[in-house]
Amino acid sequence: MLRAALSLLALPLAGAAEEPTQKPESPGEPPPGLELFRWQWHEVEAPYLVALWILVASLAKIVFHLSRKVTSLVPESCLLILLGLVLGGIVLAVAKKAEYQLEPGTFFLFLLPPIVLDSGYFMPSRLFFDNLGAILTYAVVGTLWNAFTTGAALWGLQQAGLVAPRVQAGLLDFLLFGSLISAVDPVAVLAVFEEVHVNETLFIIVFGESLLNDAVTVVLYKVCNSFVEMGSANVQATDYLKGVASLFVVSLGGAAVGLVFAFLLALTTRFTKRVRIIEPLLVFLLAYAAYLTAEMASLSAILAVTMCGLGCKKYVEANISHKSRTTVKYTMKTLASCAETVIFMLLGISAVDSSKWAWDSGLVLGTLIFILFFRALGVVLQTWVLNQFRLVPLDKIDQVVMSYGGLRGAVAFALVILLDRTKVPAKDYFVATTIVVVFFTVIVQGLTIKPLVKWLKVKRSEHHKPTLNQELHEHTFDHILAAVEDVVGHHGYHYWRDRWEQFDKKYLSQLLMRRSAYRIRDQIWDVYYRLNIRDAISFVDQGGHVLSSTGLTLPSMPSRNSVAETSVTNLLRESGSGACLDLQVIDTVRSGRDREDAVMHHLLCGGLYKPRRRYKASCSRHFISEDAQERQDKEVFQQNMKRRLESFKSTKHNICFTKSKPRPRKTGRRKKDGVANAEATNGKPGDLGFQDTAAVILTVESEEEEEESDSSETEKEDDEGIIFVARATSEVLQEGKVSGNLEVCPSPRIIPPSPTCAEKELPWKSGQGDLAVYVSSETTKIVPVDMQTGWNQSISSLESLASPPCNQAPILTCLPPHPRGAEEPQAPLHLPSDPRPSFAFPPSLAKAGRSRSESSADLPQQQELQPLMGHKDHIHLSPGTATSHWCIQFNRGSRL
């Protein structure tokens, strides 16, 4: 396949190579009339070739990854270089001259920025700053050391006569060469280390070094280059001083440019609320602008982009929408991987061009040995010094990996190509040496580093999932450590970090984040949110099938939940405890057949997707509207979620919160609605005992979304409110309210209305069964925290599903004269007795009454629990305060 692709692709390339010769002719000829077909190769040539090359590289990547075995052994970068060599060979053979090169201009202006931006933006900033000292040391001192020692040693080698006299180079030339060959290359390091998975500290040190040493490399290269051009005789002492000063200018200047652009970027994204679609573009544009600006001012461009990515991420991520975040992430990764692929391939191709290089064994071998040796020596020396200060010392194995991981790459190659042959007569030798060094480090070291890491048993990075506890503990930790440092009176790292965070919170974040984002911005929140999302996704990923399989067993064996619930409620009733609200408790002992019916109905109801809404067709270039498919998916997703959670809750984490969740919201509008009345009465034409039952209908309005709800975007929900039918005796209107509230999800804008029991258990009774599974499509438009709170709530509302002892009263009230005449007598039996006991249970009432927003889930469960743990609750049940007793209870599929 590879062969085929290559030969196919070689054709247009060959064509391209031939084409220029015909070029002069074509404009001269007048076109002979109207052409039916015209071949306009020249007009598209340049972009076409670029696209082709990228395509070739991508195809090659696909091919490499067809075999897992190969890629697990050989790093991709090696394969790409080899492919480049092959392609270069073909091009050379066809065109008789080397055509395609890694041009330094292309490399620095187009290929490098995406990679650096990607690495800067996704750099684990905490880790980076935790190890900043070490990283800076290696980047600055290490690079200087490498450059000077390698240059000097090579010069010594030449003096010793081991380098052929053809290589005309003085000390300065060798220093120049040393400066460009000494820098560890970020592209190569990333490519290799990403596959090796060493522990994060080690990775961040090597990788951070490779990014930050750019400033040093650039300075050294420029200084040496200008010295060479001036000629060593003309260099004065002030020039050396200038050289040193320029190191600071270039590095600090680069970083400053990056930070300024990061600031601009964050500030800009703060105002993109109405034009979400350009958010990702802004990120790329401004980062690129930072790169170009730094390049223009001949500052360290890599440093600029790194700082820009590092600095803006926090604010940008908070400001832009969720979709934009995904877009940014993927686009960045795609661009970076694309650029990386092309770089390595072009490296391979460039190496074929023998006209550019001249071989000298002494120089090549000497360079190879020196860079390996001095790298190792430098690492050992610096680590020794650093370990005096580091709390967690770097051990020997780390040092081995660090010295061995010092890969050279395309930066060195591009720099050496940039040399001026008239000024540096030995350029060709240097090019050859650089190519060999790059190939050696990428191929040989890249190939062997994995086995080496394995063999040395380097601590690998563990991929344990982040947990909420961990995050919490780490935060606590930061605070403790800062506090302890304060107590000890030593203002160290933790202290300053704490100070910085305070500052950031107080000023920067307020300035750079939009208010809605700032309000809810917190790392712990983020983790919480991410974990919730992850859970949700994994539930769905496991397939809605899990549920259906449990669902299938249901018909024969009634659902655990319902059994448990009935039994609990039965228990409560039988024990004569007054702790039951009548609405919840009236229990119908239905025949098994009915239950089967109910279960089956739910199964079908849940499993079948019913499109219930028609959406306005709207198209706008500026707003991505979700298409119908997406919506459907979403709804199906939500349904699945719900069911998954239901089963999950009941099987694994049957945790009930006895706490309440007070949540400020608009109180549900309560009104007697003709519709609902009609429903109620419809259900009961015969009307048994309707005089003492009044239907209380609660319609809960969607809470206004305070933020982010672009009215243009939000579709009006046609069925927002939940209509509840709860029976309340006239004397306990308040209670009716309460119980009504129970059924209402705390914030309906997010949560699907949890189905009332009537809908759940006997769905064919409720004309509005739709409501039960309806999930507001707003859910997904909401900014993270909204989703988060929504998520919490839906969890809690799902708990109510998991244990639906919910009011069976509605069932009774709206019982139609239907097959189950047998049951009806039961209802009135309980009716009179129940309202009173409900008052005998003031705590929950008081609580519920006061915190009206009680989630529907909580109370039913409280009712189950409270009789069982009454003594504990008494302690907590001061009126008005929500109980916060924690308890996790596991419902046993009871056999009662």
Binding site: D130, G133, T137, F389, R390, L391, V392, P393, E462, T467, L468, N469, Q470, L472, H473, E474, H475, T476, F477, H479, I480, L481, V484, E485, V487, V488, G489, H490, H491, G492, Y493, H494, Q502, K505, R519, I520, D522, I524, W525, Y528, L531, N532, K652, H653, I655, K659, K661, V785, T789, N792, S884, H885, W886, C887, I888, Q889, F890, N891, R892, G893
Partner: protein, 187 residues
């Protein structure tokens, strides 16, 4: 320090107990005196509920600080494990405010609320739900598949150890006592 001479015996004793070097002890002592205003004890560190000391002397101070000592590279596995456990026990007690050997939800919530108190826009409510989530997670980590009817009352120390399993505290619970005067640049 004139007192240091006569108290060199004491210093040596403290050295053995806490593992600080005598230099560090001296520095800490200076700091301690500064904090306490030359009194033998620091009073009223927290107006906590009863049962907590409301004053500490220098030895207590040192003991507390010694929890934040970096782990010695010369220690063998067992000692490292031991010191890790001690550190964690110290932490555990910070969470367990009524020191009943259990971090209850209430206690956890308090911690989380304090953590989030820096951001005035996050409501208590959210802090609670975070704590609840964390507790739930802890429950699932520690108890695995729980028996039905089981009630998870709080995180015990064993559970606490389990939660911390993946996190290497050795690299984190550190404050630089060494070279306290000379502020080190690198961490």
């Amino acid at each position: 320090m004139g007192a240091a001479h006569s108290a060199s015996e004491e210093v040596r004793e403290l050295e053995g107990k806490t593992g600080f070097s005598s230099d560090q002890i001296e520095q800490l002592h200076r700091r301690f005196k500064q904090l306490s205003g030359d009194q033998p004890t620091i009073r009223n560190l927290r107006k906590g509920p009863s049962g907590l000391a409301d004053e500490i002397n220098f030895e207590d101070f040192l003991t507390i600080m010694s929890y934040f000592r970096p782990i010695d590279t010369s220690m063998d596995e067992e000692q490292v494990e031991l010191s890790r456990k001690e550190k964690l026990r110290f932490l555990f007690h910070m969470y367990d405010s009524d020191s009943d050997g259990r971090i209850t939800l209430e206690e956890y919530r308090n911690v989380v609320e304090e953590l989030l108190s820096g951001n005035p826009h996050i409501e208590k409510e959210s802090a609670r739900s975070i704590a609840d989530g964390a507790m739930m997670e802890a429950a699932s980590v520690c108890m695995g598949q729980m028996e039905p009817d089981q009630v998870y009352e709080g995180i015990t120390f064993e559970d606490f150890l389990k939660i911390w399993q993946g996190i290497d505290i050795e690299t984190k619970m550190h404050v630089r006592f060494l070279n306290m005067e000379t502020m080190a640049l690198c961490h």
